[in-house]
Amino acid sequence: MKNRLEDIRRDRGIKQEELALALEVSRQTISSLENGRYNPSILLAFKIARFFDTSIEDIFIYEEDVQ
């Protein structure tokens, strides 16, 4: 699953550390999400979407052929 988390975060001028603290996850989790190494739980995906005041689909891109 691809995501636009890094782009959205940079657009808003938020550091990984700040986002991690706001979402109550580790900075490594944010880094792994941005690199596509880790797919978040649905709860974390909702938290991220709510934090950026957008929808999950705007951040995370589901690719059927990858599955």
């Binding site: 991690a20 109550e24 996850v25 580790s26 490594q28 989790t29 880790y38 739980s41 709860l43």
Partner: protein, 142 residues
Amino acid sequence: MKKTMPYVTTVAGAALLVFGLVGIKTFGDVQGFMAALPYICIGLGCGALGGGVGEIANRRVLESNPETARRMEIEKNDERNLSIANRAKGRAFDVMIPLFGALMLSFALMGIGMIPILMLVAAYLFVCGCGVYYRIRYEREM
């Protein structure tokens, strides 16, 4: 209860340690289990005392640094960290099962007594039973 636990552990550890040290001096020439008891008490006492003192010191430090405490709490509950820990445990379990089997077979071929082999088989079956139990439980929960 949770707040007083480290103090209880520390006091119990200190008591065990003192009991063990006194036991070495006073037990004289006893045989069997009683001869080993003071040393077991010293070992357990040192462990409990060290763990208790460590926990008390940890709490004191975290109380004076709420920001560090929050970060530690986040690291502890971080879903990626939990996922990594669970996957690692799963892998270790997968390795342990055939390893136990090989060990039982080796012990049997080496002609080691019946009791140790049966204990190993019991431990093996218990671990497998735990695996089945949690699988059924999670099947119902999820």
